[in-house]
């Protein structure tokens, strides 16, 4: 870097201009506008003429506080995140451990089959799963029937719809976390395990005393990415349940979409989007705090 001063800064600004200007116009300005909008009564009439918009202070937020549907969407999304995250982490760690085993050959092909769901189009696989969950003809009930389990109306039963979405989401995303875990496992020095073996530790002890602590930073990273992603739940319920039955799969983003782009209550919708932002911000800050305390 020592000679970089010889490169003119005028050229630097020219190189930066296209990217920075487009991020400014199509990201920063909308974020600020959304923040301002969340303090207005922007609705379907305002779409016609902007000057009917009025500032109403915190009214949208106080209305959210009293809105049972909003609380339900928050509760549904929270339930989904709390249920799906640990399952996803456990499955992806399990898959990573299996594929990291020295006993196994042809790892590439197994890794590929676990990973494929992650890169495929969410909307398309949600449609596939909607038919898999079909109460009469779905293949899930058929397979469960082979084990003597009674058929269920997965997406039609208010108590099963969200767990069914969780199962599909875990299937869709665990491959990503698995890849990160495999990289994390390969970074653990081999001699730690050798030393433990010499002292007579069995596999379970080694897993508890070496793998788990050495993998902690990876697990933290994976958890945060998973949680932040899961909080943005939208397409799965949109395609599979339309938020039903009894609004039991209405998510935060689903409610935001419904208020903003179906009923055109855009001011109110903007305040929902900021609650989502706030939640994600807290999760992210928590990550930085935890990372720091881990390094210290």
């Amino acid at each position: 870097m020592k000679n970089s001063y010889s490169f003119s800064s005028k050229a630097a600004y020219l190189f930066l201009a296209p990217a920075v200007i487009s991020i400014l116009i199509f990201f920063f300005i909308p974020v600020i506008a959304a923040f301002l909008m969340s303090f207005t009564d922007f609705d379907i009439y305002a779409l016609g003429s902007f000057h009917t918009v009025r500032f109403i202070g915190l009214k949208n937020y106080s209305q959210l506080f009293d809105d049972p549907l909003f609380w339900l969407s928050l509760q549904n999304t929270g339930y989904y995140v709390v249920l799906a995250t640990p399952i996803c982490i456990a499955v992806s760690l399990g898959a990573a451990l299996l594929l990291n085993s020295k006993l196994i050959k042809y790892k590439g092909i197994f890794r590929l089959s676990y990973f494929i769901p992650y890169i495929t189009t969410l909307v398309a696989v949600a449609i596939v799963w909607r038919f898999i969950y079909h109460p009469k003809f779905g293949i899930l009930n058929y397979f469960l029937g082979l084990f003597g389990i009674n058929p269920a109306d997965w997406l039609g039963d208010p108590n099963l719809a969200m767990p069914a979405i969780v199962l599909m989401s875990v299937w869709k995303t665990f491959g990503y976390n698995m890849i990160i875990f495999i990289a994390g496992l390969q970074n653990i020095p081999e001699d730690l395990y050798e030393a433990a073996s010499i002292e007579g530790a069995n596999e379970w002890h080694k897993f508890k005393a070496i793998t788990i602590p050495m993998l902690a930073p990876t697990t933290l990273f994976v958890s945060i990415v998973t949680i932040v992603g899961y909080f943005q739940l939208f397409a799965e319920p949109y395609i599979m349940t339309q938020g039903g039955p009894l609004n039991k799969t209405l998510s935060i983003v689903g409610y935001m979409y419904q208020e903003g782009f179906r009923w055109w209550n855009m001011g109110y919708s903007a305040s929902i989007s900021f609650v989502l932002f706030f939640i994600i911000l807290i999760v992210t800050i928590l990550q930085f705090k935890l990372q720091k305390s881990h390094l210290a």
Binding site: P30, A124, F274, L276
Partner: protein, 269 residues
């Protein structure tokens, strides 16, 4: 013994993971009604292309396929161009406000994109860009993750290479075009495939910004078809195959680069 059990487990779980795709492909080649039977049929007794023909000729899925190809290619091309210039500038130039600007751009990573969608919709509507390719393109022109990835890569390029070219009379843009870009090909491929797949699979913003079915991308077209064809699994499975096959092919060809991108911690849904 342990080894055999491991293999059995791996094979069974791999097949279980792939079953949704296998069933999807198989059902897509069945005539109407053949996938709505109990017990389910896993292999078509006769293979027909009716569903594909129907989708591509009578429903406007061919147009959606074209929209998806054009949009994903355009977004990939422009974002690689914009991000690579900015990444190079951050790696190799000194200028006032450099670290401040970079930190400001990092905000781009924390704020969920849903926050921008309401004002963006109004903005684009007021200048007549809703329901055009531009509505999708403008949101994908540049992003901090891409800039960051390219910056990291460019920092490893020795200054002496750049200086030698300058002494030979190359302009700043020629250095970027003739030296930096060729050396950055691996990271450009990584970023390119991530962007392509991300744009292809994206749903919420295209659902909002593309309002006419002639402009739909495949995911939006599928979600709209689903409203009328809840009882036609064969047709919907053919639609899903058309949507998924291109991304799987692109991924399989460039797998190595994609996995590298994941390791760098950057693939977000």
């Amino acid at each position: 013994m342990k080894k055999i059990l491991l293999y059995i487990f791996l094979v069974v779980s791999s097949i279980a993971t792939l079953i949704p795709f296998l069933w999807m492909i198989s059902a897509s080649f069945m005539p109407d009604g053949k996938a709505s039977v109990y017990p389910p049929v896993f292999f078509p007794t006769e293979i027909v292309l009716d569903q594909y023909v129907h989708l591509l000729t009578r429903l406007s899925v061919a147009r959606s396929l074209l929209n998806s190809i054009i949009l994903s290619t355009m977004v990939t091309f422009f974002s690689l161009f914009f991000n690579s210039m900015a990444g190079y500038a951050f790696a190799k130039y000194r200028f006032a406000g450099k670290s401040k600007l970079f930190n400001l751009l990092l905000v781009n990573m924390i704020v969920p994109s849903q926050v921008t969608m309401l004002p963006l919709f109004l903005m684009l509507k007021s200048i007549g860009l809703i329901n055009t390719y531009m509505a999708i393109l403008v949101t994908g022109l540049a992003n901090i993750f891409g800039i960051f990835l390219i910056r990291q890569h460019c920092m490893a390029i020795p200054d002496s290479l750049i200086e030698a070219a300058k002494i030979d009379g190359a302009t700043d843009f020629q250095v970027y075009r003739k030296i930096i870009l060729p050396l950055a090909v691996p990271v450009l491929v990584t970023l390119g495939i991530i962007t392509f797949l991300g744009t292809w699979n994206d749903f919420l913003w295209p659902l909002i910004a593309l309002t006419d079915d002639s402009m739909y991308t495949l995911p939006v077209a599928l979600s709209s078809l689903m409203l009328e064809h809840t009882r036609d699994p064969e047709l919907m499975m053919a639609g899903s195959v058309i949507t998924i096959i291109p991304v799987v092919v692109v991924f399989l060809v460039l797998q190595r680069y994609y996995i590298k991108g994941i390791m760098l911690g950057g693939v977000k849904e």
